[in-house]
Subunit: 390 residues, 2 copies
Amino acid sequence: MGRNVCIIGGGMSLWGVRQATARDLYQEAGKACFDDVPGLSNKDVDGLLVGSAFTERSNFQTHLAPLVAEYLGIKPKNICCRVELLCASGSSGIILAYGLIKSGLADVILVTGGEKLYTPQRWEVFYSELGTGDHDFDGAQGLGLPPPFFSMVAQKHMKEYGTTEEQLSMVSVKNRRNGARNPKAQFQKEITLEDALNAPPIVRPLKLFDCCPVTDGAAAVIIASEERAREYTDKPLVYIKGTGQASVNNASANMPSMTTWEALKIASQEAYRKAGVKPSDIDVAQTHDCFTISEIIEYEDLGFCEKGEGGLFVEEGRSDFGGDVPVNTDGGLLSCGHPFGGTGIRQAIEILRQLRGDAFKQVEGARTGLTHNLSGLTAAHTVLIYGRDV
Amino acid sequence: MGRNVCIIGGGMSLWGVRQATARDLYQEAGKACFDDVPGLSNKDVDGLLVGSAFTERSNFQTHLAPLVAEYLGIKPKNICCRVELLCASGSSGIILAYGLIKSGLADVILVTGGEKLYTPQRWEVFYSELGTGDHDFDGAQGLGLPPPFFSMVAQKHMKEYGTTEEQLSMVSVKNRRNGARNPKAQFQKEITLEDALNAPPIVRPLKLFDCCPVTDGAAAVIIASEERAREYTDKPLVYIKGTGQASVNNASANMPSMTTWEALKIASQEAYRKAGVKPSDIDVAQTHDCFTISEIIEYEDLGFCEKGEGGLFVEEGRSDFGGDVPVNTDGGLLSCGHPFGGTGIRQAIEILRQLRGDAFKQVEGARTGLTHNLSGLTAAHTVLIYGRDV
């Protein structure tokens, strides 16, 4: 039903600790995005979606979308609003743009996302973090901040499946190696297994390199109908094939299981079904490695390996270049950083490049790619599948 | 392109100053909504969109959608996120749900919206208000708070077109008369023209009854494909026919005109075009009467009357029952109040009832209805057109 929809370009600001305002970051990302599609001007864009989680507190700016439209010279007539699902705000925007274009309600939408988190008012970001889970229950007990929660997840996975601290560290070593090639990443430096294992603890067993950093940054992509895509670009077309976004609980006390993420299974099955593909068809994936344990559980619940074998999957190199499915080929959250609303957009850009054939390091012959964003205390999961074939 | 989409039910919490948390309000609205479609259960809902503007500050709660899903017993698999375009967050959600269902990506979406604004931390709401326009430019100069801005708009419209304070007051007298019939409205009491004219000034020429109040409340609607709609309800079907959302500036200094709202013209023309109707086809409308002057300009820029004749339009009763197009038949923002994310949903509910034939006071034979939401310092405009005919 509806028409074919493509992602035709994307770009990012430099991610890291930036002496820049949020509007600077959106402008920098927007310019990089338009530079990626030389045939397209901001006048061709008829819709704008902005994914941002903390803008009201960290920038004191509500009603962000019209501001970004103004700074990018876009005059939307079909849609111009902000989308928020915390860490998955960006990918939520891509799903919504997909619906609007597929149904014929819009033709060309710029989806951007980002955060400015390093501000003089650090308590504002802290207050927002306490609303990551259920503020009145989780947050009031200190579970608003993610590290304690993911430490419990890691401990439980280690106990249930024998996952080791070395295996956790291998995720960060791989992703830092990939990120070292990415000129927009917050950390562009490799680390060794020893560095990771000997790093200072954040909340045991999670150590410094097991945790993604706090990041300023933005990213933007152009989503268009296939017909319009052909007008603007000569590069190989990359289609959105399937999407899913699921939640089965919010408060952490209501999680069916800490180590099997039910909502991820539902979201990915929905995306696989719509795309008409199975896990073994995925050639390259960007998953939500906010902590190393997350990526390990994601291998399992996305169906890349059996339950409990995620640790072995990274240890055997099956998520690295040359393996079953290279994961986080641009460095992931662990290298690129995590400006919440920007992350889903960054993931889409890397999949676009991998499928188009112009990635920093290419997964040869990749034709089908997947992105996965988690948000909150794993309370919601967002999966998109892209392909060179419709 | 795509399939037909219907609005099949809706309900509201009581709006006003509520001794209730945000989650209580969403639950109250959700229950009222499900009660309106007895054939539908929360198990049938495959997507959720939540429109809320100030949740991060006023409730310290980010990642609101999974929380609302949990409290309504919904397990979304296609979409579960929050939408923010300040005062138009709710209608933005309806447009996005329309796209997802029309394109076949989802079947049944609950769109809810609301705010809890009366809290012990009143400064949080004040900070968010300062981000209504461009925080760093407008907000820093005190133009974040809407009354001074809309006072300038009113003064300019009075000077350019001879609009009078009496005509402004007539808008509030009409809307308070309509609101007196609405059991969910914040103010359910009529006022006289003398009450309005003699009320204490807020920012001249705007007086107390020219301004909508601060409100706690939530509202919810069910949007579904026509096929699924027929499964769940025997009531007359109401279709979404056309939508538009436009912005041409954000900072108030960049407004092309203070008294002709360019973005409203673009958004409404886009909605009329998609719906295949013209202004004279609209039988009933809910427009954004945040201030009385807004409703007068909206008559003009929606095309209900000529430019500059908005004052006369209300004076001659053309926006009242029995007139050209009854406007704000449920009391509008001036009576119902304005919990930002809830307003667009409330408007949709009243149009649903008017077209279905079970409104508090019926516009006889209404077959086509319109909602209009403005947001920010008139920086964005959102228009939806609904009809009994596809």
